[in-house]
């Protein structure tokens, strides 16, 4: 990084859910990310600042926070692109409990991922022949797109329906379910469709598309959820699932 050319006032959330913002003055440098700023505060001003990160290159999905009111992956968000009126405000992700400072408790997020049957259920054993998968089939294409989710939680934090209905599974879990119902190797299709068709399932989605708007991977969970609604209705009409 280059020499510091100016400073920036940054407000960071401190404490639990009843905490408050605290303002720090940090050097503003070229090509600086929001995660760089948070790390600088912890290394130079307050070592008790808690936050979460791992890869720093946009692969692990650990560092998502609320930046000036929007959920973003902080390691790939350039400060100069998100400053508003010379200020930067960073808070933990919304729609999740706050552990401390900038670290949100992602347990509800991943519990819903499990509730949506987000784990792959193999239909074959390792002794079976490898099943050829044609990459250009529509179902495989749908699965391949949805599978790029890094589970950062930005969509979940941005979702109005999650805010209104704490039981709603949310876009990430449903997007994961969509990738699996399109995977011909998976054996859990019917019970997964039943899980995402229950109270709190895909039919609660209002298609506001905030998930699509805020996804750092430019995925479209709203489309995935619309696909699940179609498959769910087909299964319901055929009597394969009860709700």
């Amino acid at each position: 990084m280059s020499e510091a050319v100016s400073t920036l006032k940054v407000s960071l959330w401190r404490g639990g859910s009843d905490g408050r913002f605290k303002t720090y003055t940090v050097p503003l440098k070229a090509n600086q990310t929001v995660l760089d700023i948070v790390t600088w505060v912890q290394r130079h001003l307050d070592p008790t600042l808690s936050y979460r990160f791992a890869c720093r290159v946009g692969m692990c999905g650990s560092c998502a926070m609320t930046v000036n009111g929007r959920p973003r992956w902080t390691c790939r968000t350039h400060v100069t692109k998100v400053i508003q009126n010379g200020m930067l405000e960073v808070a933990p992700l919304a729609n999740m409990p706050v552990i401390k400072d900038l670290a949100a408790d992602m347990r509800p997020f991943f519990e819903k991922w499990v509730a949506a049957h987000g784990t792959f259920a193999a239909s074959k054993t390792r002794t079976d022949a490898i099943e050829p998968i044609k990459p250009d089939e529509p179902a495989r294409r749908a699965a391949d797109e949805a599978i790029e989710c890094i589970n950062c939680g930005a969509c979940y934090a941005a979702c109005d329906t999650v805010r209104w209905n704490p039981d709603y599974l949310g876009p990430a879990a449903l997007n994961r379910a969509w990738s699996l119902v399109n995977d011909v190797r998976d054996s859990d299709r019917t019970s997964r469709l039943a899980a995402i068709s229950a109270e709190g399932g895909c039919h609660n989605c209002h298609s506001h598309q905030s998930c699509q708007e805020h996804c750092p991977q430019s995925l479209n969970p709203t489309r995935s959820i619309a696909g699940l609604k179609r498959l769910s209705m087909q299964a319901f009409v055929r009597g394969e699932i009860n709700a």
Partner: protein
């Protein structure tokens, strides 16, 4: 909202779309022809077709609206699904009663 409620709400909406077109056409015709209340009643009273049409319309609208009301009560009213379902059921029953009473008033001789 679950798959069963979604089926009934979206299904009732799909069935109502052509009925709403007919309903709007009837309103447009009645106003453009400047039909009086007596003239309208003379055409609807004793009509099995209008009775069935608007009777079905009332039932579908009641199903559709009560499921939507349940959703609103859950999401904005923070009611549990059971409580919201009970309130929405009463609302739906009231819509059916009031709607069928209105239909009876214009189709019964």
């Amino acid at each position: 909202m679950n798959a069963r409620l979604y089926f009934w709400q979206r299904g009732s909406a799909a069935l109502m779309v052509p009925m709403i077109v007919v309903h709007l056409a009837v309103i447009f015709y009645a106003t453009s022809q400047r039909l009086t209340a007596a003239e309208i009643l003379s055409r609807t009273q004793g009509s099995l077709a209008w009775g069935l049409f608007y009777g079905a319309f009332v039932l579908l609208a009641s199903i559709h609206a009560s499921i939507g009301t349940r959703n609103i009560l859950c999401e904005w009213g923070r009611l549990k699904s059971g409580s919201a379902g009970a309130v929405a059921s009463v609302f739906g029953a009231a819509l059916i009663a009031l709607g069928l009473r209105a239909v009876a008033a214009v189709v019964l001789p």
